[in-house]
């Protein structure tokens, strides 16, 4: 997925690193020190609809050309996450217990057009 540059109008992944110190949460989140909060944004013109947004294969390139030449776009396509991974957190709960847990689908790794 292209990482968003300021002038990128098309669907891309916007990267943000969040440091828990910045949230004032380092007193209860022990590890890690922060995490990547990425999100997807950008235009999804018809010929990009349904494209995986990662390494588009020859098939999807041809498919895109067909769609681009199709005068009747098939409705709206959105820029959405296509790959996400869990985040392992170590934190103190309200009783002072240490809890280690994996939060599923926390980090967006790739975006694409629905």
């Amino acid at each position: 997925t292209p990482t968003c540059e300021p002038e990128t109008p098309l669907c891309c992944r916007r990267d943000h690193y969040v440091d828990f110190q910045e949230l004032g949460w380092r007193d209860w989140i022990l590890q890690p020190e922060g995490y990547q909060l990425n999100y997807c944004s950008g235009q999804c013109p018809p010929h990009l609809a349904g494209s995986p947004g990662i390494a588009a294969s020859f098939h999807s390139a041809v498919f895109s050309l067909l769609k681009a030449n199709n005068p009747w776009p098939l409705g709206t396509s959105c820029c959405v996450p296509t790959a996400r991974r869990p985040l392992s957190l170590l934190y103190l709960d309200r009783d002072g217990n240490v809890v280690k847990t994996d939060v599923p689908d926390m980090v967006v790794e790739a975006c694409g057009c629905s």
């Binding site: 300021p6 209860w28 235009q43 959105c78 709960d93 002072g96 809890v99 280690k100 847990t101 994996d102």
Partner: protein
């Protein structure tokens, strides 16, 4: 909202960097609280001592091993009713660890250097209501041959409780005579550490929250 586009994030007015950063931080707070099934961040009133925390964290699985079977919890004991360490009652507050979802439990204890002979330890579960002898269940018994840290595996079934998330464990230990007669057994010597950096703690493995997720993940 992009002009005329059907979805909220297909382009639209870009935010000023400070406004975007503030929005991202708010989003991060929401995302983490939702991911941990919390409504607000926990207020830590009694954080465990750093040294005890560091030692306990070394017992957790290495971070490279994702906890496929749900969460791991380390709960430090608060000690009450102890005339001597060998008849202490350890109290653990497991309200957030949902004791009924336990899959594995180990009690970590630090034995002090003792006169020759090994320490014989029994661990009972005390019902929260029960003060009388009857309301307790033997969970584990073990020789502790030397000073240092020891882990006692506890039957997770014996720890599950629906009536209360406060778990009370009673320790009963005595010194098995080595080359000294038991008559010389030191009456008042503390044989186990029960406070400070070497206080006992429970290491628990909790089934994942959504039913069946652990099995799906293992598959």
């Amino acid at each position: 909202q992009g002009a005329g586009s059907g979805c909220p994030n297909c382009g639209g007015p870009t935010l000023a960097p400070q406004a975007e950063r503030a929005l991202v931080l708010e989003l991060a707070k929401q995302q983490i609280l939702e991911g941990l099934h919390l409504t607000s961040r926990p207020r830590i009133t009694h954080p465990p001592p750093q040294a005890a925390l560091a030692r306990a964290l070394r017992r957790l699985q290495p971070r490279s091993v994702p906890t496929a079977d749900g969460d791991e919890v380390i709960s430090f004991a608060t000690v009450a009713d102890s005339t001597s360490a060998c008849s202490s009652v350890l109290t653990f507050d497991l309200s957030t660890a949902q004791p009924h979802q336990l899959s594995r439990a180990r009690l970590w204890l630090h034995a002090r250097p003792a006169p020759p002979g090994s320490l014989y330890l029994r661990v009972f579960r005390r019902r929260p209501s029960g003060g009388q002898r009857g309301a307790r269940t033997l969970l584990a018994e073990q020789h502790l041959p030397a000073a240092g840290w020891h882990a006692l595996a506890l039957p997770s079934g014996g720890l599950r409780a629906k009536e209360s998330a406060v778990l009370k464990l009673q320790l009963k230990c005595r010194l098995l005579p080595g080359n000294r007669t038991s008559a010389q057994q030191p009456r008042r010597q503390r044989l186990l550490d029960t406070a400070g950096d070497r206080r006992p703690f429970l290491q628990l493995q909790i089934w994942p929250r959504e039913p069946g997720a652990g099995r799906a993940r293992r598959r």
